[in-house]
Amino acid sequence: MKLKKLVAMLCTFSMLGMLLAGCGGEEKPKESESSQEESAGGSQEPAGEESQEPEGGEESQEPAGEESGEVAGGDVSGTITIWEHGFSFEESLQAVIEGFNKQYPDVTVEYEIRDGDTYNSVLTTAIQSGDGPDLFYTGGTSDAVMGDMVANGAIMDLTDEVDYSLFDESALSRSIMDGKYYSIPWLTMDTRAVYYNIDMFEEHGWKVPATFSEFETLLATIDEAGIIPVSAVNSYFSMLFAYEPVLSGFDAAYTKGLADYSVKVTDQPARDALQKMVDWADAGYFGDNWLGVVDGNAMLLAFTSGQAAMMIAGSWEITTIAENNPDLNFGAFEIPSEDGVAGLVGTPANGFSVNAATQNKEAAIAFANYCASLEGQTIWVQSQGGVSASDEIEAATELAKQISESGQGNIYTSWHNVITNYSTDGSAVLFWEENFEKVFAKDMTVDEFMDGLAELMQ
């Protein structure tokens, strides 16, 4: 009987233990492979290793703790934790950590990838509870999170801690608040591009369009050939990334005006460009039943599997497309305006900020400085396969170069960024999130949408 009780109690406690362990959703932090390899005596060349010698580095101010390679990091030690917001950045982060560990072998860098919509709320909760990471990604001034952290003293002012000499004004636009820097940008251009299936284009004799009307004609021609012209997904994120380049091609002069808010986000060109997209959707240019595609991966698959001839998406999708179908021969271009002018919509990407409550400030700042260095930036840009936002860093892939060249040196401000930054009370972006899809579903007309948005804008 006693034995029975004992067994029952043990079972109860073990079940309770498992239950509690299961409830704790904390991800086990990953230590970078490089760090493990380093400690085992192995050494793996990081992506972009050949660019380790900073060209023109003599002119730039040396970041703290980085001046003499491995020796410099000798007195910095301990463990730091980094949070990134998407798996597509994991390899690049590993490569950067690997480079960092060559200079700072005594620092153990752990990272966690927190993919999904709840990244920001999990981050703020973790920081509020004192369990936040030492460094973490935020969207910078593109969203409300960094501002919220600055207002609450949760994020470190890096102005005097990090060497920002590598970056120009546009690169720092997402890092600066009230004249102080709170994050390290990445010199990858967060832009959008039209990806196209080269083999399919060659087979049918289609040409990359040189004007907006040629682009529109191309859509009709592809549709007539029985192929879906553009793979699309019924999600406001993805439709935004399609809308912005369409808008820039539809009216380049208007799009340029967004930079200083000399034009409103709801002006006639913005309405007409959106109506143009709705008309394209009605004409079947996104597929007959495209509203049923709700997953971004499905959109990607439709393009990579050859169901669609083109896909308009972020420049960060280059590696994902290539990984999805390594045999796919694809190129990219920007949608040109009627007079042939094209540009890149977007800004350089934002990177890591440092937690004001970090327990290892020295190592965290050292990592931040490494990220701000030419070497760190080169590793990141090249491992991302992204479009370079710096003359000093060469894009790693031909495709990224193609996108850069297609932009003809023009950079346009994102329409979405303007909504975020010039809303009267911050609710304009919520209105856009809630209603953008409704325009394509015909629950709302373009004018109703734009009028509703206009009411919430400055």
Partner: protein, 300 residues
């Protein structure tokens, strides 16, 4: 004296555990609903503002009530379609229709697959561009029947209910079936000897004697119906599909509380207010339901 306090010692661990992990969080959420808080920094007391916003904000109230309407619509489906189907299938297994063992296994099997996986495969089958269903229809020359499926407001809700029946009916069927098996064989034999028809046996014996399980299943399913989240989230996206056809209160709570990766706004106080409203709504539905179902318990 010892004996007097024995019951307290007996319930204390459970009481503490329940208080810590259930009661206190509920009280905390109630408290949060009266503040404005993004999850960072000090909370700002806002009185009833969050509740007023839920009920009156021009850009929010219609969305919330539309989603709540979908919850109620689904609740009616649970009561009028899903539970009767579960009951009927359990009855068919009970009367041992041909191949009942195999069918019972097949019906119950999807229940062990998580709803996330079911939804994921559903999106692959019903994907309008490369999904199996449209390709199949094309293959047999019925292109005109191809559709957007979950992207079509006429189909989305119906398909979701079908999917839930396919995936989740097994649990209810098993409870009903077990209840049928628990009915005394003497009663069944007696009614047979007395010359009851199958219909009479079903209506006069089985239904009255299985009302306790009906009460439990209806109560549980109703709570589940009002807390639906995962299936519509995956099938229709975070905005609840085309024309909000798959938008439910929990999805609204999710997107307004946690923001998203692009805008990053978190409104924990506002989200807590939605939670409190849903809590009260669910409690009301459950209490009314319980009162009605209690009348039937007497008969058993």
């Amino acid at each position: 004296m010892r004996k007097k306090h024995a019951h307290i010692k007996f319930i204390l661990p459970g009481f503490l555990f329940y208080t810590c992990f259930v009661v206190l969080p509920i009280i905390y959420v109630f408290g949060l609903s009266f503040v404005e808080w993004s999850g960072m920094g000090p909370m700002k007391f806002s009185g009833l503002d969050n509740f007023i916003k839920v009920f009156t904000a021009q850009n929010f109230a219609p969305i919330f009530f539309h989603a709540l309407g979908n919850n109620v619509k689904y609740l009616l489906c649970v009561w009028l379609i899903i539970t009767p189907i579960q009951y009927l299938l359990a009855y068919l297994f009970f009367i041992k229709i041909p191949a009942h063992r195999y069918l019972r296994f097949m019906v119950f099997m999807p229940y062990v697959i998580s709803s996330t996986i079911v939804s994921f495969f559903a999106t692959l089958i019903f994907n309008p561009i490369f999904g199996f269903l449209n390709k199949f229809l094309e293959g047999i020359g019925l292109e005109q029947l191809q559709g957007a499926w979950f992207g079509d407001p006429k189909w989305a809700f119906k398909l979701m209910v079908m999917l839930i029946i396919w995936q989740g009916a097994g649990s209810g069927i098993m409870i009903f079936y077990s209840n049928f098996m628990d009915i005394s064989k003497d009663v069944m034999e007696a009614c047979r000897i007395d010359g009851c028809t199958e219909w009479q046996r079903f209506t006069r014996i089985l239904i009255p004697l299985s009302l306790p399980s009906c009460a439990s299943i209806i109560t549980m399913s109703s709570i589940w119906a009002l807390a639906l989240f995962d299936l519509p989230f995956i099938l229709g996206g975070r905005n609840g599909g085309v024309s909000g056809s798959l938008d439910f209160a929990n999805l609204v709570f999710y997107r307004y509380t946690f923001g998203n990766a692009l805008s990053g706004r978190s409104e924990l106080g506002f989200g807590a207010a939605i939670c409190v409203i849903m809590f009260i709504f669910m409690m009301t539905v459950t209490v009314i339901q319980r009162k009605i179902l209690k009348k039937f318990e007497y008969d058993t």
